[in-house]
């Protein structure tokens, strides 16, 4: 066997190994089920809109609840069933974590944006994508802080708080989910939360109880 063909074989083995590890990583994070749930959330939003598009409750709740549900699913999907065992592997985990989260975030954005695309409301597409980014950031921060299992608690509590606020004349930046989709400070606030959440989970992982892996 020539040296060149040996290198080719090694390269093929290496790339197939990399692919296998990636697939195993995605399986460990229940990626297929996560994608199905994201799609189900999109369908639920479409059904809601087919029932009502102009009611005050729909106008207020749907642009917040659909992204909240998707972000909660993404936050929970960060759970690792391996605990510390995974940390000692020779490959850098952060690349997989980041790719996994970005993939889910992109899919989630696409789903919620498509779900509301038929809604005749100005900037609603931008609004749901921004809210998804912000709630995902909160969800990831909660995953790092409390564990992925109850990572939904922080974005949920925050969303309820924002939804029950009295309607202010000018929406403060901390109430970004209520702002219009073209509001730049609100988008920056949501983006900053997402960045913090991504950095924490990508570098530090989540605080998970290995016995609770499901």
């Amino acid at each position: 066997m020539s040296i060149r063909s040996e290198a080719d074989i090694m390269s093929k083995i290496s790339s197939s190994g990399e692919m296998r590890l990636t697939l195993l990583f995605l399986r460990s994070r229940q990626a297929p089920r996560t994608l199905l749930l994201l799609a189900a959330i999109g369908i639920a939003a479409i059904l809601w809109l087919s029932w009502d598009t102009a009611g005050e409750i729909t106008l207020l709740m749907l642009p917040i609840l659909a992204p909240l549900a998707a972000a909660s699913v993404i936050g929970v999907a960060t759970a690792s069933p391996f605990g510390e065992n995974e940390v000692i592997v020779s490959r850098p985990l952060w690349t997989w974590r980041l790719a996994h989260l970005m993939g889910l975030l992109l899919t989630g954005s696409l789903v919620v944006a498509l779900a509301v695309s038929s809604w005749d409301l100005p900037y609603v597409g931008q609004s749901v994508v921004r809210n998804l980014a912000g709630f995902t950031g909160l969800s990831l921060i909660a995953s790092w802080l409390l564990g992925s299992a109850i990572s939904w608690s922080i974005p949920f509590a925050y969303a309820v708080f924002v939804l029950l606020l009295p309607k202010p004349d000018a929406i403060p930046i901390w109430a970004w989910p209520l702002s219009a989709g073209n509001d730049l400070p609100a988008s920056l606030a949501a983006g900053a939360l997402l960045l913090v959440g991504l950095c924490l989970v990508t570098w530090r992982g989540t605080r998970d109880n290995i016995r609770e892996a499901a």
């Binding site: 729909t58 936050g75 922080i154 949920f156 708080f161 029950l164």
Partner: protein, 509 residues
């Protein structure tokens, strides 16, 4: 010689059961996830409208209904945590191990549910006690209404049971998050349906069973009882279905064999189902549209007439939902009360519950009516009156030989406060929705005068009135720039005509 081994008797009977259950409950109470999340529950309540309203005028109907409002965030949160707790044994792969224990698995599961529920009830009770104590100190009339508290106390076990059941049957990591968000969304959809006049949606635990007008017309427990039955039914059906999962009622191949162990679960589930069916039937019998038709003497189609929804809502909002099966649904009579009155030049009288706001309402009304005091046709006092369907709730009415300014219940600090002030100014300028509208030029003169009253009282216009006709604002500026004596002389001579719609905009000096 024979060796006899000691025989260990397994624990049997109700005594051992009653001994072990409290111990198990203690363990579950200590190890419940809800404890970890108490700070979030505190935040959910602290930032809710319930706590925000504690700084406003204390009206018992509002504060009592707020206890149901407080469930908006708390209920779904508890449901989510219960769903998480339900999947615990399966997530930790303890099922097989626990199956070898002598206790009935349903009892074990219910203990986990009970611990979650008890913590949430303790939290809710503390919150209710706090609201009661604060309101007792602030309120000047009436007392708490039992309905919202009853529903609140039954709603949390129902939320917990529903979440627990979903967590039991779908024990994945995603279930709790989706249960919490889903429960919140369902309540939103339910409120929307209730506001559209869909009867079953009145069963939502956050739909207030006490209306604000309970202050004037009293309140019945009709809706509270039906909501309570529904919540008990949801709890029973949820817990029963878990029991039936452990103890299948019918087993065997080719034949149906009843198993005695499943009896309690089966009975619980059936009772739950019956209660749900009963509550749905009862709430469906509540025909608020027909009720309103009797009230106003107008024939209104019962359902399917979209244009009548506003009226229907008005009726529901005014008196609350009444269930015909519980008795008479004729128009309730206003409850007697002795009004409290201010001592300013224009005496203002309000319901005793509004006494804390009297000085501020009186100051506002007197500042608006200052230029009119003593004029012919001007009101000699102002009285707060209960809202009545089909009647204007504000305006100047004649009682005997006196003119009385009547106004609806509102409190200072209300988001619509300036709108109410504008309504009073318009009434003082002669606007009366119960009379036919005067010609447009006369209406504009009244608007300009109302604008003047607002300006001289130092009250800004409500934002929805900011686009007044330029001619009206110009006339108001002209009138305000007059010499005070000349303005007063003109008013003395023309106020009655202005109120009667006989003064045109160009007639204003």
């Amino acid at each position: 010689m024979s060796i006899s081994a000691p025989i260990v008797q397994p624990a049997k009977g109700p005594n051992s059961l009653s001994r072990i259950t409290p111990d198990l409950l203690k363990i579950e109470l200590r190890r419940n996830t809800l404890l970890l999340l108490v700070p979030f529950m505190v935040a959910l309540v602290w930032f809710s409208p319930l706590v925000r309203d504690l700084g406003n005028l204390a009206l018992w109907p509002d504060r009592s209904a707020g206890m149901q409002n407080g469930l908006q965030g708390l209920g779904p949160f508890v449901a989510g945590v219960a769903a998480w707790m339900a999947g615990r044994e399966r997530r930790r792969k303890m099922d097989d191990l626990l199956a070898t224990t002598p206790r009935p698995p349903w009892l074990r599961e219910i203990t986990i549910w009970a611990a979650t529920t008890l913590w949430s009830l303790l939290f809710y009770s503390l919150m209710a006690a706090l609201v009661l104590v604060i309101t007792w100190q602030q309120a000047t009339w009436g007392g708490p209404y039992a309905g919202p508290f009853l529903v609140g106390l039954l709603a949390l076990p129902a939320f917990s049971a529903l979440g627990f059941t979903l967590g039991h049957f779908l024990p994945g990591r995603f279930t709790p998050a989706l249960v919490a968000v889903g429960a919140f969304a369902i309540m939103g959809v339910g409120m929307k349906a209730a506001l559209n006049g869909t009867n079953w949606a009145y069963l939502m635990p956050i739909y207030p069973n006490v209306s604000t007008n309970a202050l004037w017309y009293g309140s019945t427990l009709d809706l509270a009882i039906v909501q309570a039955l529904f919540l008990l039914g949801v709890t029973g059906l949820s817990l029963g279905s878990i029991g039936l999962d452990f103890h299948k009622p019918f087993q065997g191949r080719g034949r149906m064999a009843y198993t005695a162990a499943s009896r309690p679960a089966l009975v619980t589930g059936i009772i739950g189902l019956v209660l749900i069916a009963m509550s749905v039937a009862l709430v469906s019998s509540s025909d608020t549209t027909a009720y309103q038709a009797d009230l106003l003497g107008v024939r209104i189609p019962v359902f399917g007439s979209h244009g009548l929804l506003k009226d229907q809502l008005y009726s529901t909002d005014l008196y609350g939902v009444e269930i015909p099966s519980f008795g008479d649904t004729s128009q309730p009579a206003a409850m007697p009360y002795s009004p409290v009155c201010g001592t300013d030049p224009l005496p203002v009288c309000v319901h005793p519950a509004y006494q804390p706001d009297l000085s501020r309402i009186s100051a506002q009304f007197n500042s608006l009516a200052r230029p009119l005091l003593g004029l012919t046709g001007a009101p000699v006092r102002a009285e707060q009156r209960p809202p009545e369907p089909g009647k204007s709730d504000s305006g100047i009415i004649t009682e005997g030989s006196e003119q009385v300014l009547v106004f609806p219940p509102f409190s200072i600090g209300d988001p619509n406060e300036t709108l109410y002030a504008w309504e009073v100014a318009e009434n003082l300028a002669g606007f009366d929705p119960s009379r036919s509208a005067p010609p447009e030029a006369a209406q504009q003169a009244q608007d300009a005068f109302a604008l003047y009253l607002m300006d001289q009282a130092g009250i800004s216009l409500p934002s929805i009135m900011s686009k007044l006709d330029a001619n009206v604002t110009a006339a108001e500026k002209r009138f305000a720039a007059l010499n005070p004596q000349a303005r007063q002389d003109w008013l003395r001579a023309h106020y009655l005509q202005l109120v009667q719609g006989q003064v045109k905009l160009e007639d204003l000096p």
